[in-house]
Symmetry: C2
Subunit: 423 residues, 2 copies
Amino acid sequence: MRISKLISKPEKQAPADTDSINAKLLLQANYVRMEMAGVYSWLPLGLRVLNKVQNIIRHELDAIGAQEILMPALQPKENWETSGRWNTVDVLFKVPSQTGREYALGPTHEEIVTPLVGSYIHSYKDLPVSVYQIQTKYRDELRAKSGILRGREFGMKDMYSFHADREDFEKYYELVKQTYLKIFIRLGLDAKVVEASGGSFTKKYSHEFQVITPAGEDKIIACEACTFAQNSEISEYKEGDKCPNCGKKLKDVKGIEIANIFDLGGKFTDAFKVNYTDAEGKQNPVVMGCYGIGTTRLVGAITEVHNDAKGLSWPLSVAPFHVHLVSLNAKGADEVARVYDAAEALYNDLLDQGIEVIWDDREGLSAGEKFSTADLLGIPLRLVVSTKTLDQNSIEFKQRNSDENELIQMDDVIDSIKEFTKY
Amino acid sequence: MRISKLISKPEKQAPADTDSINAKLLLQANYVRMEMAGVYSWLPLGLRVLNKVQNIIRHELDAIGAQEILMPALQPKENWETSGRWNTVDVLFKVPSQTGREYALGPTHEEIVTPLVGSYIHSYKDLPVSVYQIQTKYRDELRAKSGILRGREFGMKDMYSFHADREDFEKYYELVKQTYLKIFIRLGLDAKVVEASGGSFTKKYSHEFQVITPAGEDKIIACEACTFAQNSEISEYKEGDKCPNCGKKLKDVKGIEIANIFDLGGKFTDAFKVNYTDAEGKQNPVVMGCYGIGTTRLVGAITEVHNDAKGLSWPLSVAPFHVHLVSLNAKGADEVARVYDAAEALYNDLLDQGIEVIWDDREGLSAGEKFSTADLLGIPLRLVVSTKTLDQNSIEFKQRNSDENELIQMDDVIDSIKEFTKY
């Protein structure tokens, strides 16, 4: 990708009235555009990040045998009446139609997935099953806030599992918990498993995955030594108390909730009459769990954690590109052409090698302006071609999260990049 | 994928009350599930087809320099008032909110993309630009019909281009037309370019891409010899007239509209005040075009064209899998195990080779039942392992759209598949 061709070039100034670091940086870098409060468009660079986040999730869920499907956002009112939630979910958008019917605009998909999977469950041989989708959700929030963290339209991965008994469910619940932690490590996030209430779903236990950061809007009470952590809403403990687990001190922290997992028990399978026949021919209730990850929210959480005063700094796994190539302005038409041609040759070499590269090929910008753009966009590796480097048949090689700037020989560039990007 | 594990196994019986071949076959094969009229869930096999269709489109549009973005379905009422369409688009879903605001649920995205791209257009150097998205659209249809061909929620690729003058626009319009034809050939569709009215968008010319089939709901008058074709709604000609282009005979045919392209002129760029500064510093209006492809509808159109009395028959490019492996039932536990083990070894070999394979590993089904399933699912290549083939150290190799059934040596299987799937 040449920045000169990019439809949405990074802005020189940060937007004035943002309420969060993620909004400020993602808007200034033009990864996203705000259409109205809580509703964003994803621009070319932002969409690349979002797709990488989604593909990492997909890869790990496929590996535990979950099957991907895609359910609609427009949902029949009847299904929400069956579950009893048509009038109890306060953020439910209700859509009137010229047919006289009313639809729900799904904030979640239990009302669709339960009868869907239920229609394929006949006997114990059909269990367990687990399905997921990566899809767009809607919440009629009174106040949207915190940039892309709390939106009215947002991306989510929601997974639902169905089991013959509680033992099988609990084994899977634990497997998903471990899989989620693996996903977040790949995304460059250190997530804490936090005990939480069941919310509107269940009175049984649930867990949240929280990224601990002052930018978070959730209050957590966490042990300074062990993994114990509870959402303050449900905790009996307060800062300074002894950890019930290890006896060390508890403290108040803030977190961004990036995922949650719920034991739904029979709440939805009972409502939609989803049963199975066991080996003895007896009808039994199906046990269900649900497991969400906020995909667009994850991009916001990664932004909140991976940035500095100069801009974004993406983990390699989700960076929109791996290499940010900069060709510097030079004096005189011959030198300008020499630098441009060398950069273009290198750019084409990198593309041929399958290396994901963005090239700041714009004319008339100063070195300072191009370096600021590189820092703002946050691509992990920056390469600079200039008159000075070409005189030494070399190139400047700098990692975004390091101050070290080394000159490497032109012939070694590809090897050095491949050494850096292997992960 | 093992069919024994598939959440949504193919049904033995076709559904009773379908209004189209695509609904009948896609529902029986469990590629999709109907949630309500005009609203479908995509099940694992169907989603694989849809993703392949989308990726072929993506690949060809990226190749002509269009940039992928993702815009929201929930859109501000104000934008629709600016364009003057809030009260003129009869299929527009209007969503009330507890904030007191109203939103549109986008049936199209001119109201979002015009100010979006407009905010990045300053001078002639920023033109031309072209952006596209693959996204979900909503239409409040009085009657949804024809299976997944006309839905209330459906997938679309919509692209929008912006130009400094009409000459540049017309060049791009022609390029998109050729690119679309290339896409449809890759999808196994022979599409006809049909002249049509501008609909609610424009009074200028537009073109539809129609797949000619009796299942179509559009009436077309087309030349039996040359490429001349007009939508009957705008045509002055009738069946039997002479073609104005070549003089041969015109006839009435029916088509499924899978795409359309529009000259929008200044309709939206005027409304949203999108101008650019030319080389002389003068302000000029921006010329705009839009280009749609129905992605979910394409799956329906492919289904209507590629089927026979036994079921689906996917083109290789969009088939959910390339190989359908069948292990037949045998007599006696030893023989059953021998066939199963040989099939499993072959299945793992194919996976190791990166071959997309689905294996009907179910127990207790007859050869007839498994062959019917294979015909219904429509995977291009069927391999059969049985006691009989194993005795000859071979395997049965049959193409879905051929009656020929050949025995090939086990050692040659991989090479034969690779020979078949190279395209």
